[in-house]
């Protein structure tokens, strides 16, 4: 049996450490290792194959003077802003609708959630089809007699990113709605009663009392959406393939094309690194909120 000596700390709960090995390996090798590898290679002039010919910041110079990249970034900003705002507000709004003790709640919830089961490729194709001016909504409305009706977001340089947004919302709001609904259901019923006794209208209760109480849910939702935004690729490829022109290019597509089509790995890695930086810009405030906040509580 154990004696007074303290056993080696490394071997205490060895099983737990062994079980965590896949996670440790993934964290270190994939997430740290690959990132470092990519960042390092972004300073080289690798073409088809990774090589360590360092060229300083050349790739970044070129990146930031390339119109396609600038448009990509602009699109990402617009897309990101609107998908955050819309997903959260639509998701919350739908959740409040479903929270009104309505009939058919399960059915409606399922209907709103099902697009989440479909891939971005499918989503993109379906909406490309619906938004096609020659036989989609536009032509249907026109054939009903409203000849001047114009609705062709996917063929309009200025609107195309919103066309993509429509599809993205269709696919993604369901999950946010479910999250919000779970959050709403988790709110103490007494709060509702208190606000009724105080004579506060329902909508005010939602805005001034319930939303502030759901901060953790909103953060979770924010993180979920944000992590998807940077990665957006399939949807664009399936829906517009960056067109018309390069009006709906996005950074992830820029990376993939630099990597495989243009065979300029250095450029691709520089672009990926910039994406990584974007992610960090999003994550650091979150980490601060999450971990900084906890420290304060103590």
């Amino acid at each position: 049996m154990a004696d007074a000596k303290r056993p080696n700390q490394l071997f205490r709960n060895l099983n737990a450490k062994v079980a965590a090995l896949p996670m440790i390996a993934t964290a270190l090798v994939i997430f740290v290792g690959c990132t470092v590898w990519t960042v390092v290679h972004s300073f080289t002039k690798s073409k088809l194959l990774p090589k360590l010919d360092f060229v300083g910041l050349d790739q970044y110079d070129r990146l930031w003077s390339t119109n396609k990249w600038l448009i990509s970034i602009e699109n990402l900003a617009i897309f990101g802003f609107f998908s955050l705002v819309l997903s959260i507000s639509i998701g919350f709004f739908l959740a409040t609708l479903l929270d009104q003790k309505i009939r058919f709640e399960n059915t409606i919830r399922t209907i709103i959630l099902y697009p989440f089961a479909l891939s971005f490729v499918v989503t993109g194709l379906a909406w490309q089809w619906i938004l096609n001016p020659d036989f989609g909504i536009q032509s249907v409305v026109r054939s009903m007699g409203w000849e001047s009706f114009n609705f062709d977001p996917l063929y309009n340089q200025d609107l195309v990113i919103y066309g993509i947004l429509i599809a993205a919302m269709w696919q993604g709001t369901g999950l946010i709605m479910v999250l919000m609904l779970a959050g709403l259901r988790g709110i103490d019923q007494d709060i509702w009663k208190a606000s009724r006794v105080d004579g506060i209208p329902r909508w005010k209760t939602y805005i001034f009392i319930v939303i502030p109480m759901m901060k953790p849910v909103f953060i979770t939702a924010l993180v979920l959406i944000a992590s998807g935004i940077v990665k957006v690729y399939d949807l664009v490829v399936a829906q517009t393939n960056g067109g018309p022109g390069i009006a709906s290019e996005v950074p992830a597509k820029y990376v993939i094309e630099s990597m495989f089509k243009n065979q300029n790995l250095g450029q691709a890695f520089a672009a990926s690194t910039m994406m990584l930086v974007t992610v960090l810009i999003i994550l650091v405030p979150y980490a601060y909120l999450e971990f900084g906040g906890k420290r304060r509580e103590k």
């Binding site: 993934t26 990519t38 891939s119 269709w170």
Partner: protein, 297 residues
Amino acid sequence: MKNNLTGPQGPKPKKRMSPNNIMLYGTLLLVTMYYLLPLYVMVTTSLKGMPEIRLGNIFDLPVEVTFEPWVKAWSTACTGLNCDGLSRGFMNSVRILIPSAILSILIASVNGYALANWKFKGSEVFFTILIFGAFIPYQVMLYPIVLILKNLGLMGSLWGLVLVHTIFGMPILTLLFRNYFTSLPDELFKAARVDGAGFWGIYFRVMLPMSLPIFVVAMIIQVTGIWNDFLFGVIYTKPAIYPMTVQLNNIVNSVQGVKEYNVNMAATLLTGLVPLILYFASGKLFVRGIAAGAVKG
């Protein structure tokens, strides 16, 4: 006694058609229409013949229902020289899905369990890195992973893809499981330790049987994610094991003369069928699991 009551009594009469209700159900109707529209269009289109598609409008019901497009999408649509539609991809997808889903969920659940109940020095650090990993765009890791798989000798094999899915599923799933296991009463874990159960004993005999909701969520997330994946499927495998989505891409993008929208839609629906069925079948559990694992923490 009851008779001498005057004035309002009993339940307040409710108007069925109050403006509020009309607004509420009206909005819900519009919302459901928006969400159902694409599915409706896909289904009707896939049941029409090409002439009807060219002439009619996409919102019309098919005049003449034909299952031809489904048959074609499933078994005869061509990509290059292969004219067996999605059928081949389906089996591949299943072969990829099962080990990937099982492995990734198992590993993530064990990780989450270790993180929740057996914290050790540094475990939080690794976990934080892992969560950061969820945000890293795939593109950043696409290339280095090719090299890693090459060194492991797994490039192009089913197991390489399984590994990739396991890796990329890990952050979100681990978070999910960690939150869930943290929300289980600590005392249960302590009781099991006093009873002499070890790391695995507690995991299998105590924790697992209590984790159905979160496993359902994890399963749904993984099944959809893996089933719908295209990028990894095309880059890390080879034609012999291409998943259904690659096949779908091939069918949709192999334009032969005219775009056969009906076949494309049928193929699209066929590809989405597995996750869709899963959703319709387990929506309730999913919502419950989300509430159990994702909202907290």
